[in-house]
Amino acid sequence: MFDLMEKAVEKGLLLGATYIDIRIVKNASEEIKIKNGAVEEATIKTDSGFGVRVLKNGAWGFHSSNKIDKHTLDQVVETAVKIAEASATRSKKPVKLAPVKTIKDKWRTPWIKDPFDVPFKDKLELFLEADETIREQSDYVKAGMVSYEARKIHKWFVSSEGSKIEAEIVFCGVGVSALTAKNGDVQRRSLPTSFGGNYVKRGWEYVESLNLVELAERVGKEATMLLDAKSCPSGKTTLILDSSQLALQIHESCGHPSEADRVLGTEASYAGTSFLTPDKLGKLKYGSEIVNIVMDPSPEKYPEALGSYKYDDEGVPVKRTYIVKEGVFTGYQLSRETAVELGFEESNGAMRADNWNRIPLIRMSLISLEPGDWRPEEIIEDTKDGIYMDTNRSWSIDDKRLNFQFGCELAWKIEKGEKKELLKNPVYQGITPEFWGNCDAIGKDFFIWGIPNCGKGEPQQIMWVSHGASTARFRNVMVFSGR
């Protein structure tokens, strides 16, 4: 494979490219969805292809094809060079890339049981049992749902700077959820978390480690209980978030705004920009002093985290970077190009593409709120009056990542240090630095959540990322009922 790629790189250089990289990617994915006892989706997807990224006259060109042979590679390289030449006609500033050392390596994620080797029948049996368990919990269950996806990626990277990297990645995840309905009210409960479940870079052993049927029983019961719960009250109060909701809060209000491409305006037209402008680096009080948010995708520390990897799609080794240190905004997620633009010596390895037919963009990897020293129960015991919210139900945030609104699946009224009453339709709203500035307790129940569906870019790319988070408390937060 590398020989074929190296020849294409040579061809690009002969055509005047000053830099060229080629990625060949082979993908397999399996998706199973069960709804109310029926197999709603049972799909295997396979594809392979290559993408060629070229710098010529200081501008980028990219082209790709699903046909991997020498003739097509040559054609695609030629087109990519032409596209770069066309880009250069409307470029003001030539692209410069931060240096990177030449890498020759092969790495893989740590799966034990290849999910694609597990008989389809066995998977189905487990998922159908979970689905049935959900629906057994009450007559109000309108839908029991199980969703599962596994993916296997084999990729090769070659650059004109001499790097040759091969990677084999396997990840999978599963989730159960219940929809209940009564008198026009609909409630949803999902575990381990919402929107398809939790994902990890492991094999089928992860699915086996979850007691899916037990989770199914819980979602059926809790979704039924929610129907008779009171609506969340309105007003400013103390808010405690469970770690899965906090993971999404980190994702939207810290992960996205610290992407250097957003900061430099290159995602302005679609996803938006960022309030974390370069003049604020090292100065802005992003949160309270106990808030430390770090990008650390190194597979040595958390090999099973969905967002961990050894090298990004520019061939850059990942580098641990604090985005927020003791409450102060201190760092960005970088590419080689944005590192130069923002005055950093090197990239920290945040560039990934979701497939062979897409260019790498700055994507979140493993971005975590470092744990505190509170036990989650202590946080509740220490709260006189407040609301505890659990598991995301809806989200929205503005283009600069300041004004956000999140809805959760369920909440508890906290009174005198105890969870008193179940509440439904809870929503909270805030402005990012104010919200994090009011964080006064972080739990030690650190857990890494895997999100397989973060969208960004045009054409849109769906990336797999993860966030470590714990139970945490925030003062003076506006809450209300989403009803």
């Binding site: 989706e41 066309a86 880009s87 037209s269 809806s394």
Partner: protein, 460 residues
């Protein structure tokens, strides 16, 4: 063209070969969608091209059903017939290991495709070079900068798309269509010493030639320039004039609710509302591939079912959910021709048109005493699906309207409200309309003036 003719023959023949193969190997019914595509996208930011990408692909999606209603699906990106047949065997294997889905009744029978006199495929779109796209982008950038001295950055994307699609099933469906379209979105940033503002404009057409790059650039540039020095106003209940770009977002949420899948899941706000007045009586919404207002007429859906005009709302009365063969079979109905292209059982409108009115845009402003002009909505999401409650931020041009006049620019605001309530408070329908690409279809919507939207927050 010769190459595309060969591709056309190849995908039509391959579709037939695949169906024959799976039926011979034990499938009761089967269908396959094969698409050849050429997509190019030139992105620009900070007034220069920064990403410029292209792809060609051949993709197939195959479903096989056994007589006892077990089924399996495969998707493969390949132009190799052996690989596609291998994937077809895998679909059979999945089906054999699966459990029956007794809600599935049958794939659709062949039906006559209604002709269209509109052109779907423009040959000049094939001949576009990267330099042609760069030239269009250049015109956008120049026009936006000419719109105001404070314009600091022109951002956006120009996309050109060619698709050749063949669909076949074991009951005799065997259809082909080819279409092209170009879309251009532009977001301009203006800056002065005190503030920063954005302006947005968007166009989509079957032919890039029909899009005036200068007009789009100027529109976004002008709006950005007039948005500087925004003031903050208190959240509350305001009258609102939505530009078509913002109305289209409301229509997207409405479209989700019209899907038979949303109904089946119990998460549509339109459940039990068929033939009931749901929206203001001046609101009529159709899904009509032959409407002159939709940019690209799609002849059939992802199952090869002919697309016909379907009334979704008639003078505010909700008339129809949209169905594919799965949900139609489940409810004992006929498919309305809204099957998804790449997913099993996920119907969605593809040529949705919110019928415009007769009023000039100025009439909408003049009708507003204490209101807000919303140019675009950002990051909208559902808060309570059964009640149609959504939340979104305003973006790229939010202005205060007082006593019938546009007064000043305001900071972006968040609303959380039911789109039913918003659209029930309609006051005037504009005659201007725009179309946007949504999922694999198009939404067309006019400017509207409504009497009440609940804003719950402000940025900055």
């Amino acid at each position: 063209m010769k190459e595309l003719d060969e591709i056309k023959s190849w995908i039509i023949d391959t579709a037939q070969t695949v169906i024959k193969h799976v039926i011979e190997n034990g499938a009761w019914q089967a269908d396959v969608r094969i698409e050849y595509g050429e997509n190019y996208l030139t992105r620009f930011a900070n007034s220069q091209i920064h990403q410029n990408v292209g792809e060609t692909y051949t993709k197939a999606f195959l479903r096989v059903f056994l007589r006892d209603k077990r089924f399996g699906c495969v998707t493969i990106i390949s132009r190799d017939i052996d690989e596609i047949l291998k994937a077809a065997d895998q679909a059979l294997k999945i089906a054999k290991a699966s459990k029956p889905d007794l809600f599935f009744k049958s794939l659709p029978e062949p039906d006559r495709i209604l002709p269209t006199d509109r052109k779907m495929f423009f040959e000049e779109m094939i001949r576009l070079t990267p330099f042609d796209r760069a030239e269009v982008v250049g015109k956008v950038i120049d026009a936006a900068h000419e719109a105001g001295k404070h314009v600091s950055a022109v951002n956006g994307a120009l996309s050109t798309v060619l698709r050749l699609q063949a669909i076949a099933n074991s009951l005799g469906v065997n259809v082909f269509q080819a279409y092209s379209f170009a879309s251009l979105n532009v977001l301009v940033t203006a800056k002065n010493m005190q503030s920063e503002a954005e302006g947005f404009a968007y166009r989509v057409s079957g032919n890039l030639k029909e899009i005036s790059a200068e007009e789009v650039g100027f529109e976004a540039g002008e709006r950005a320039s007039s948005g500087l020095d925004a003031k903050k106003i208190e959240p509350g209940d305001y009258e609102v004039v939505f530009l078509p770009y913002a109305t289209a977002t409301l229509m997207f949420h409405l479209a989700i609710d019209t899907s038979a899948r949303s109904k089946d899941l119990g998460v549509s706000s339109l459940i039990n509302k068929e033939n009931k007045k749901v929206l203001h009586e001046d609101i009529s919404v159709v899904d009509d591939p032959r409407s002159e207002k939709t940019p690209v007429p799609l002849l059939f859906d992802g199952e090869g079912v002919p697309k016909r005009r379907l009334v979704l709302f008639d003078h505010g009365v909700f008339k129809n959910f949209v169905y594919d063969s799965y949900y139609a079979g489940k409810e004992g109905k006929k498919s309305t021709g809204h099957a998804s292209f790449w997913r099993h059982a996920s119907p969605f409108p593809s040529n949705l048109v919110f019928e415009p009115g007769n009023s000039k845009f100025d009439d909408l402003i003049e009708d507003t005493k204490n209101g807000i002009l919303v140019s675009r909505l950002h990051y909208s999401n559902t808060v309570d699906p059964r009640r149609g409650i959504i939340t979104a931020m305003t973006r790229a041009g939010t202005f205060k309207i007082e006593n019938g006049e546009l007064k000043y620019s305001i900071k972006n605001m968040r609303f959380t409200d039911s789109y039913h309530r918003i659209l029930n408070s309609l006051s005037i329908l504009g005659k201007d309309f725009r179309s946007m690409v949504v999922r694999r279809g198009f939404i067309t919507a006019p400017s509207i003036k409504v009497n009440s939207v609940k804003f719950v927050g402000t940025t900055g």
